[in-house]
Amino acid sequence: MTAIEKKKFFAGFRYIVYGALFLLLYVLQNTPRLFLIRGVKPILLIPAAVVFAMYEGEFIGGIFGALAGMLCDLGGFFLFGFDAILTLVFSAVSGLLIIYLLRRNLRNAFLLVFLSMSLRCCLTYFFMYHMWQYEGTPSIFWDSTLWVILYSTLLTPIYFVIWKKLCGFFHRRME
């Protein structure tokens, strides 16, 4: 295999690996009892997509963000497409911010994941609970939504390290 062929192979192969990793995250996210702490489970796909976009840029990040969001929609109980739209936007914006304004470091990864998760969870809370004026709705926010945001954000370093190693590996092979 020539050097150019190797580059082409890795350029295509990396997308299969990325897709498989997002599928794995989907399975882990929806597996009963896994990562369950006091009734709260973390959302894995959206933070992973946001951090991924920090390494792969706004375009590839946005497309895989849409895929991650669609997988979230698949396991979720809200309108199909809601998470896909949000995650596409979060990922594309994160990619652009890293290119033009922010440094690619763990602190900024925390910041972007926290903002994305807060916005997503608050919108979901609003549309699923607050808008319908159920009795005792705020308790859902304090007992569940808030903890999902924090728990999901706390896992950011894991994605940061994984994507750093993986994207770095593929980028080196394609240079």
């Binding site: 599928l23 709260v40 979720g76 109980f77």
Partner: protein, 310 residues
């Protein structure tokens, strides 16, 4: 950054966004029916999800055993003491009887309801933001499961099917405020409507509302489905009354129900894919009652008997 907004990449992302918005609008229009994209993704992911769920159950059982070894030891000692006491009795007979009862419960569902067509299913997913114990099961439209099919266990009613894919379905439970089930007290025959509330759902309980002020519903009463609306068959066990209170404005009573099924720990369920008198057009029992009264008033009838309205 302005270069980006003029680039082909931006236009592709924008097109993708438009397609996703179209998906969402279609999903909103079609109700619980998934889109083609969700079918494809669901079909690809379901086998992995099944495998992952079975591994997770095994691993968490092992970890549970390790982490709670101390608890199990003390529990074990207590049980040994209990066994010593029970040796005086006919232990073998009692144990065999209990085991037999467990197996009979599933059989009873079919025996007592000859008209039921059932499909056994396993819980394969619980989303992080699942509402009120909602779960994903491993049976879908290719197994004959349809929207609003009732879901039960051997202990009683769980909920109904809220979304169907080819190989998976999603269930909303009786703890959800959006699901209303027409019920009656097995002892007093008083009717009411069971629905979840956020406060009660957190402790795995639900609420039976619209009980007549003069009703004799009391703690310990068993509540079953009344068959109102044709979504749920009549006579399914829903739960047991744990307390009875007067509604805020004092016009009626409500009861707090302990569901017959432990919603947050179900692993296997039975989907009733067909029964005599089934209709999948869901109307909340309260709405049905109001509509019938309205219809009766408009046709000149003075009143609708309670039984008819229900």
């Amino acid at each position: 950054m302005s270069d980006f907004f003029k680039s082909l990449r931006f236009k592709i992302l924008l097109a993708l966004l438009v397609v996703l918005v179209a998906f969402m609008l279609r999903a909103a229009y079609m109700g619980g029916l998934g889109t083609m994209a969700s079918y494809v993704l669901g079909a690809a992911a379901t086998p992995f999800q099944k495998l992952s769920a079975s591994i997770s159950y095994s691993v968490t059982d092992i970890l549970d055993t390790l982490f709670r070894a101390g608890d199990y030891k003390s529990e074990n000692e207590a049980l040994r003491e209990e066994i010593r006491e029970l040796r005086q009795q006919l232990v073998d007979y009692e144990t065999a009887l209990q085991e037999n009862e467990q197996y009979k419960k599933f059989l009873e569902i079919k025996e007592n309801n000859q008209d039921f067509q059932v499909e056994l299913a396993a819980v394969i997913g619980r989303s992080p933001d699942a509402r009120f114990g909602s779960v994903t099961i491993d049976k879908g439209s290719i197994d004959g499961v349809e929207l609003r099919d009732p879901v039960i266990t051997a202990d009683g009613l769980v909920g109904y099917i809220s979304e169907v894919g080819p190989t998976y379905s999603q269930i909303i439970t009786i703890l959800d405020p959006t699901l209303h089930v027409g019920v009656s007290d097995a002892r007093t025959r008083d009717t009411g409507i069971v629905a979840g509330t956020i406060a009660l759902a957190q402790s795995g309980m639900c609420k039976m509302s619209y009980i007549d002020r003069g009703s004799a519903v009391a703690k310990g009463d068993i509540v079953t489905t009344s068959g109102v609306g044709g979504v749920f068959p009549k006579g399914l066990m829903v739960g047991t009354v744990s307390e009875v209170q007067v509604e805020t404005y004092g016009t009626s009573l409500y009861a707090v129900l302990e569901p017959a099924v432990d919603i947050y720990s179900i692993k296997d369920v039975v989907v009733i894919t067909g029964f005599e008198g089934q209709t999948r057009e869901y109307t909340a029992p309260g709405q049905a009652k109001a509509q019938e009264k309205k219809d009766a008033a408009s046709s000149g009838s003075s009143s609708v008997p309670e039984e008819e309205a229900e």
